[in-house]
Symmetry: C2
Subunit: 375 residues, 2 copies
């Protein structure tokens, strides 16, 4: 095997100040830039764009050709931030302040729909169900790949959220380590599961222990009208602007009827209910400022169980995670004024202007019929 | 005193997933928006702009009038994110997942220079020294204010970093709590000071214990040419693209000859040397893509010692902090292509493309004469 070279091979570095890792992907410097440069949003998209590398039948930048897919379509990112195993092992650190860890994995791209001009907010429920099924398929498939510990599903929507192509798509980065933020969340879920906060009637986690997120969903559903942070709810899922929201119209979406570690554990009913509520959230988002609302969305869930553990065991430690989706949208006041998370936020602490309750109230007031379809 | 009202009074909320607080400032929803909306940078600024609320003699949005100041000028932000004491105390949490803390403080604005068209990169050294003296003055002054625990100095430069006015200025937010990121860093510095990593000849922290940042600066200065992350160095200060940099051309600037807890501890020599190196860094930044380089800059240092502690005691626990400045610039490839820290970065882990060593090499290669002054 080739020797490790920090300027060629992706790897992670530890920030000893925050005790967090950073993923370094030097080979990515070669990818072409197709995104916009702080330009206004294009509103009038064609259903098919011959220049789009995600449209059915079109060539991609790597030279491959997309099939004429009819629903969703998945392929490996032509400019992946991590590369598959075997990966060269990084040398031992010459000093604890210069620590490196090796990393490998796969970056998948998931196209949501053949039509170039649609988004989740404008897909019919059965098409959103197909996206959910694709997420589950990728989560399971990448989970069987050697050494993969975490499958991070996400969507960057809108040019201001770094999305380089408006064709509806998301990404899935599968890694040989549980990434920093997921690991931090899991540590918190674990701590909570060992605590004695069991005074609610919320569903319980493995071994009958408290689950932070089951408990939280339960509190939010029971909250008095005046403090309501719930945006929309169906018989399985609840979407709230969380108590601790950083982004102006941040939303946390989670199942509340039972403890659910991952998307692979969802029942048929829960999948359909997820498609329905995803449709409602994204429609409300578009209606808020009458635009195609930008956001980053991500799914946090169970890490891939170690091969020796019994994955079928519901009492397994890994089950302390409770499936949830985060939406981080940047817009603050209108289709063109976003919240900047800069100086103070980067150096000191997240800062927001309107309260989560105000944001939730505004989102609740938005119609569940998309503004482009309402007349 | 008025009762606490979450929709009126600034407060902080705990994110139990990350165990971090978010500062909520509901009253800020009233401030006017003067910033650009993702538009290209304005290059041809006048020396004086009659419409600028920071230019000498001009009226501000709050109705006050700026004096005809000659060097720096400081005033309280007309739309502060925190308000001075006494602040109403927030009620006890109804559930541990809905925890609130009260907060008070002051947001100052510091104008660097009367000229509307200049930036740190284009100020002469004596004018940068005046900015440093103003930082020290505010740090000391706010530190004597009741209950203030931390003074966060920062600068948002450039419209793409949320700066609403190109007139050269920074901000200082002084708070009754040590904010999340500073607290995390301090915890890491404390942990390191209690460790046994004492094998280098680096300066030591209080009680002769190791200091993470003194040690780190020492390693970087000694690093072999091929791995050099040092961008520029003088006899007191060193600027590096840190091993763990997240932003493409991130820079960490710190004194390396002795352990220095805060800007109030700087000697005359160290202040002059800081002005010199700040000039060099910001000039190199502008030269990198021949533009007025955007960034967020922040100063991390010693929290305000509790009144009962002996602030003059060098062995004081608070002295474990080592003064340093972070520069987080978003540009990646050119004056118009930035790095987006979005989906994966927000959900999983910071991700960068070029290595810190490559970035340091590019910055080292930039001239120390500003491109606008070089002919
Ligand atoms: O106070 P300003 O300059 O109007 O606002 C800017 O800096 C603040 C502190 O980093 C941020 O909270 C704002 O989002 C940003 O636009
Ligand atoms: O992979 P893409 O869509 O080209 O790139 C986008 O998403 C990535 C993952 O969040 C980010 O690292 C990039 O900065 C962003 O532009």
């Amino acid at each position: 095997m080739e020797e490790f070279d920090a300027e060629t091979h992706p790897h992670r570095r530890l920030n000893p100040l925050t005790n967090e890792y950073v993923l370094v992907s030097p080979h990515r410097t070669k990818r072409p830039w197709l995104g916009q440069t702080e330009a206004p949003q294009i509103l009038d998209l064609p259903q098919y764009d011959p220049a789009c590398y995600l449209c059915p039948g079109n060539p991609r930048s790597g030279g491959q050709q997309n099939p004429v897919y009819e629903h969703t379509y998945t392929f490996v990112n032509d400019f992946s931030a991590v590369l598959p195993a075997p990966a060269p092992t990084s040398p031992a650190a010459s000093h604890p302040l210069l620590t490196t860890r090796s990393v490998h994995g796969t970056c998948d791209v998931l196209i949501f729909h053949p039509r170039h001009d649609l988004t989740l907010a404008r897909l019919v429920i059965p098409d959103i169900e197909r996206v959910i099924e694709a997420w589950i398929r990728i989560y399971k498939q990448r989970g069987t790949q050697e050494g993969i510990k975490y499958v991070q599903i996400f969507e960057n929507k809108g040019a201001i959220m770094g999305c380089s192509n408006p064709h509806p798509h998301g990404q899935v980065w599968s890694l040989s380590d549980v990434p920093t933020i997921a690991a931090t969340e899991i540590a918190s879920l674990r701590r909570y599961s060992l605590s004695d906060v069991t005074d609610s009637a919320a569903p319980k986690g493995p071994k009958g222990r408290p689950c932070l997120l089951c408990e939280y969903a339960h509190i939010e559903i029971a909250a008095p009208e005046a403090e309501a942070r719930v945006v929309v709810k169906n018989d399985r899922w609840v979407a709230v602007v969380p108590w601790w929201a950083t982004w102006p119209f941040e939303v946390l979406l989670l199942p509340y009827q039972r403890h659910v570690p991952s998307i692979a554990d969802l029942t048929e009913d829960e999948r359909v209910a997820l498609a329905e509520i995803l449709s409602k959230i994204t429609i409300k988002y578009d209606n808020l400022f009458s635009c195609s609302f930008a956001y980053s969305m991500g799914i946090h869930q169970r890490p891939i169980p170690a091969p020796e553990s019994d994955a079928a065991d519901d009492e397994d430690e890994d089950n302390i995670t409770h499936l949830h989706l985060h939406f981080y949208p940047p817009l603050l006041r209108s289709a063109s004024v976003k919240k900047f998370l800069v100086g103070f936020e980067l150096m000191a602490e997240a800062q927001r202007d309107l309260t989560p309750e105000q944001a939730a109230r505004k989102l609740r007031a938005c119609s569940e019929v998309h503004y482009l379809h309402s007349n």
